[in-house]
């Protein structure tokens, strides 16, 4: 097998205290970290990935340089922008990866962001030994190229951490990585999945005890399939009295609500939770939502459904709302029969 390992790491729902130590350690110790800009931001804020440059003079010095060639395809001149992140990291935009790595080596530059064929990357000096950690920004539409690059680096002996929000198995990245490995006929790459707390579990905990029994997880995104499939699954899950966790609700929410209204009583409780806990960690742009409503009224809150951080939980026929001063809880009692049956 390969010397390096390709880790597919779940970081949980985006707050530091719901990440495991294992995820933290794997990301810290990997030579390459592939993550979306949002997750990179979270990992920086949590000091899982590096933030090294805070020296303003050094930043300005870098901004004055113009080391980037004209783009052969577009004829446009390379662009150089230097900005600091909330955590103080330096971004230099416009270099290719090899140029960036050269700069790191030759000039001792600590951090880079560079436009690559395979997306964006920046390079961060992670310690006294000078071992750099390459951060690659994953972007939709570039996943396949990124996976190929990851394979190449793992074969060279590097550890690569591919970051998923929540858990890699629940609408995460693991299937795509395996697809690419298969396509490239790559059986020598050591792949390890590091599991994480799913958004569904996090939201359920916030709401109290809404699951307790059998539940269905349905994504409303029709990016990879026809809406008919989603509709059928939703309808049948509702008819079979599953508690339903909806993912990717920024699309199809009203349509889903229509379906649920046809299948379920209006009084069935619904919980809408957006970015729970992220605000207190300084990482929420739109404000948190904690809303307990019901199937009949869920469409009134369409405007609260936005972005990746929203989860919607639809109860079943047994789910109850327990009102409290601080928040309303959702509870699906375990139900059961006479004690003699045990």
């Amino acid at each position: 097998m390969s010397e390096g390992t390709l880790y597919i790491v779940g970081i949980g729902p985006g707050v530091p205290d719901k990440m495991t130590q294992e995820a933290r350690d794997v990301i810290r110790d990997s030579e390459v970290v592939v993550a979306s800009s949002l997750y990179q931001k979270f990992l920086r804020l949590d000091d899982v990935i590096g933030n090294k440059i805070t020296d303003d003079e050094r930043i300005e010095e870098l901004a004055d340089e113009d080391p980037f060639p004209i783009d052969e395809d577009t004829g446009e001149e390379g662009r150089l922008e230097v900005t600091t992140t909330p955590g103080g990291a330096l971004y230099v935009e416009g270099a290719t990866l090899s140029e960036a790595e050269e700069k790191v080596e030759d000039e001792g530059i600590d951090a880079f962001i560079t436009t690559l064929d395979s997306g964006y990357a920046d390079y961060i000096d992670t310690g006294d030994e000078g071992d750099g950690q390459l951060l690659v920004k994953s972007s939709m539409g570039r996943q396949v190229e990124l996976a190929y690059e990851a394979i190449a680096r793992v074969r060279e002996g590097q550890d690569v951490a591919h970051v998923s929000g929540g858990d890699p198995n629940t609408y995460g990245k693991s299937d795509l990585v395996f697809k690419v490995l298969e396509h490239a006929d790559t059986t020598d790459v050591d792949v390890e999945i590091v599991e994480g707390v799913t958004a569904g579990m996090s939201v359920s905990a916030d709401l109290g005890a809404p699951l307790s029994g059998d539940f269905a997880t349905v994504s409303l995104s029709d990016k990879w399939r026809d809406w008919d499939v989603i509709e059928d699954r939703l309808r049948n899950a509702a008819r079979s009295d599953f508690v339903i966790l909806l993912y990717n609700c920024w699309t199809g929410y009203d349509e889903a609500a229509d379906i649920l209204q046809e299948e379920l009583d209006d009084e069935v409780p619904v919980g809408i939770v957006h970015d729970a806990g992220r605000e207190e960690h300084g990482r929420n742009d739109d404000g948190e939502v904690y809303r307990v409503t019901n199937v009949g009224e869920m469409k009134e809150y369409s405007d609260e459904i936005s972005g990746m951080g929203v989860s919607v939980l639809v109860g079943n026929s047994k789910t109850e709302v327990w009102e409290a001063d601080d928040r309303d809880y959702l509870v699906t009692p375990r139900g059961g029969r006479d004690i003699e049956d045990f």
Binding site: V144, D167, E182, S204, A216, S219, N236, A237
Partner: protein, 323 residues
């Protein structure tokens, strides 16, 4: 039961408590246990004053002055190792004055959180009386955490805790109730298999202890028909042999015999085993020690395949990507 004294607070109370539970000091074992499956075969609720499905029993109301209640946190430990607990779980346990849990899981806790904490662990008895014990401690004014593997919402102690709390006349807000999510067994098992349920999935327990078998069957039919991947908890026990056979029959009715089924037993423990078998052979495995109460099954759908020993259920990337 170990009595080797460590840094935990020793008390002499509760040694005659329900079903063998005792307040004890740290007792370690080499087990790195995982599985969020409820071990309902071991349930012994005969001494419980509470019945599932029953919200209120006026005779149970024991709660006194609300201001004297402790806090109550239900903590999911995930697969078992300290590295796979969340920071929030460790903090919640650190803050608790009392920790209540099944012995195996108490053993897994980091020493740090056990220091200065009264531990009540039960080696064998049922979850109802264990949870009741925790609630009583809360109502007596102790900041109490009850622990379980996996996630508290997945066939675990979340709703039971809330129901018992209410049955004793308290409310979640009066005891500063909180649930701390953990990594469910499904995710631990999925990680070992590859990418078996990346898309829409249902989670079903074959235990008919709380859900009648016809309802379980109906859910299996529906999920199998709609091409959900299906995660099955509590797949087999001596008492539920028929449930397993019935489930296999339903799955085979809807899905071809070559559908991959992932079988993971004791994920996260030293003796963990995982294997992928074709659905057509699943019934043969029912009587083996591969499928037990601590096994989780993951049934693929029409897109699931096995490649390089990994079980993969891809989303429709072929529509978009050219590899």
């Amino acid at each position: 039961m170990s009595t080797d004294s460590n840094s935990t607070t020793e008390t002499s109370t509760d040694t005659e408590s329900k079903c063998g539970g005792s307040t004890e000091t740290d007792s370690r074992s080499s087990s790195g246990g995982c599985t969020a499956n409820t071990s309902d075969d071991d349930l012994d609720t005969s001494d419980s004053t509470w019945e599932p499905g029953e919200r209120w029993r006026s005779t149970d109301v024991t709660a006194g002055d609300e201001s004297e209640f402790g806090s109550f946190t239900v903590v999911g430990l995930g697969p078992g190792s300290v590295e796979e607990m969340t920071q929030k779980a460790i903090e919640a346990l650190d803050e608790a004055d009392h920790i209540v849990g099944y012995e195996t899981y108490v053993d897994l806790l980091p020493e740090k959180v056990k220091e200065g904490t009264e531990i009540f662990s039960t080696p064998m008895c049922g979850e109802v009386s264990r949870t009741e014990e925790a609630v009583d401690r809360v109502l007596d004014g102790n900041d109490t955490a009850i622990i379980g593997s996996g996630d508290p919402n997945v066939y675990a102690l979340g709703s039971l805790s809330m129901e018992l709390l209410e049955s004793k006349g308290a409310t979640p807000e009066a005891v500063d109730f909180d649930v701390v999510a953990g990594i469910p067994a499904a995710q631990s098992c999925g990680a070992r298999l590859g990418a078996p349920f990346v898309n829409d999935t249902v989670t079903v327990s074959l235990s008919d202890y709380l859900t009648p078998m016809p309802e379980i069957e109906s859910r299996l039919h529906s999920a199998a028909r709609e091409e959900f991947t299906i995660v099955i908890y509590n797949p087999w026990s001596r008492k539920r042999r028929d449930n397993f056979e019935k489930a296999v029959e339903i799955l085979q009715h809807h899905r071809p015999d070559d559908t991959p089924v992932g079988i993971v037993r004791d994920a996260g423990r030293e003796d963990e085993v995982s294997k992928v078998v074709p659905l057509g052979e699943l019934d043969d495995w029912g009587e083996t020690d591969l499928i037990t109460m601590t096994t989780t099954l993951i049934v693929g759908n029409d897109e699931t395949y096995v490649w390089n020993d990994k079980m993969v259920t891809p989303r429709g990337y072929h529509q978009k990507y050219d590899y």
